[in-house]
Symmetry: C2
Subunit: 262 residues, 2 copies
DNA sequence: CAGTGGTCTAGACCACACT
DNA sequence: GTGTGGTCTAGACCACTGC
């Protein structure tokens, strides 16, 4: 199954697939990548730990070092692992990442983010709820499924800047408490890794301009006529499984959403 | 200079550099990448054309095919070239790109962008101006330098959705006319490539929520109380030279700004 | 069929980190 | 020094394209 680079003809397309341009070929390094991915997913190596060296993996999978290298290259490009010359390859983590908030693209208008330090967090609410139809759909659950919902404020330099609601599947995040959300010294995603073993690997955001309702305006200390950024984020674990829905309202009078296009 | 993989000791750090972690080492494939980049920049191969095969480049630079491959891999990752198995490696272009608008992240709320087809363009204005201090700073020019300014509306399905101002250095875009902006059948960036030989390679955006002034509201057929997305984009050519400033107002009642986070 | 990019291998050597 | 990832090479073969 492994070293014998299986060719397209080893798996003659069983169904004609209605004329779709079927993949029908999987290079060896992709298979190796898949196997490493499985081990990451299964928790064989924990976030922050090093995975076996390229030579070891090559021996384990009975392929050359170069093939393992290419597999790891792709995992590194997807931010699942981090390579450090002379030290090894490490499972990525939201903790100890030189960018404190990997998924937060809101930047202070002047200066860089590192100047203003970490956000101050205030948890408004942290409770068990049942999934609304909308939330359930976004996370691939059923309406009424148990969820954890967190509402909180993030402030920078004492200015309340972000008001957000977070929905997490109740299944995986049963014991989540406001204390946990408040006290963990680092990104929330790092806490979710450590306390619940769930790693958010990528995310998608939909951004709109909106006006806040009365409560929202009050919480953010702005007038209801102040336009705000509405940022709806779905974060995914391995295998594109959605595990978090986040709805944020961002003030953009002192900050802006920064994006790089390639 | 080329094949003899220069080692760190060949260039013993002349200045102590005040303790900075000096690069002090450039792998061969990076040098090759730089040389290919120069040729791209010099227009040796035009957008849409193929560059020489890996074997040819390897012969030209007196390195192995693998080294050229790694150089091209990086250029492909940066979207400067596109590889097509069996055919060759091609200089990227904003024209004939399967995504019509590479830098436009505004998506219709329902369905995908390919359904709604290209935007209808209406040019409000296309004139020579002098750079304001702000515009000059954004583009690395001097206040008062000649510029071309374009103001236009983009509509989708007949609904005016984007109002934007575009500033281009007068130097490079002297003869730009409203007719050109209107009549070119494809992305504006493709027209700039073809007619002015300037390729926008990457861009940065700063996004805020704002309220339109009277004129803006009128142009977009919305009330002045409708919050809009303000998108300020700086687009760069090769070597990180800024060549365009764009300020857009996006309606987000039927569309949203879509972003992927890794 | 020839030519292109894509995969895979094996081996040598370099740069970096730790001990 | 030893072990790690990073670079470079040379050669073989595979998959896709177009003549």
């Amino acid at each position: 199954m492994l070293p014998s680079s299986l060719s397209a003809t080893d798996f003659p397309d069983p169904l004609p697939s209605a004329g779709l341009p079927v993949p029908a070929f999987s290079p060896l390094y992709q298979q190796i990548k898949g196997l490493i991915l499985q081990s990451l997913q299964a928790g064989e190596w924990k976030p922050g730990e090093s995975i076996p060296s390229e030579m070891e993996l090559a021996a384990r999978f009975k392929v050359s070092q170069g093939t393992v290298r290419k597999a790891i290259d792709e995992l590194a490009a997807e931010n699942l692992v981090t390579r450090r010359q002379g030290k090894g390859t490490f499972v990525s983590t939201h903790a100890e990442q030189h960018v404190q908030y990997r998924f937060l693209k809101l930047m202070p208008d002047s200066g860089d983010a590192s100047v203003e330090g970490p956000a101050e967090r205030f948890i408004i609410d942290c409770k068990r709820v049942r999934a609304s139809a909308e939330v359930a759909r976004a996370l691939g659950l059923r309406t009424g499924d148990p969820m954890m919902q967190v509402r909180r404020i993030l402030s920078f330099s004492g200015i309340p800047t972000i008001l957000e609601d977070i929905w997490l599947p109740g299944q995986a995040f049963k014991g989540l408490t406001a204390a946990q959300m408040t006290n963990y010294p680092g990104p929330t995603y790092a806490m979710l890794e450590l306390d619940f073993g769930v790693r958010m690997v990528r995310a998608e955001e939909k951004i709109r301009a909106v006006l806040p309702d009365g409560e929202q305006a009050e919480r953010l200390h702005v007038s209801p006529a102040t336009p705000l950024l509405s940022v709806e984020r779905i974060a995914y674990t391995y295998n594109d499984v959605p595990m978090e829905l986040r709805r944020g309202l961002y003030r953009t009078d002192t900050h802006h959403y920064h994006n790089e296009l390639n």
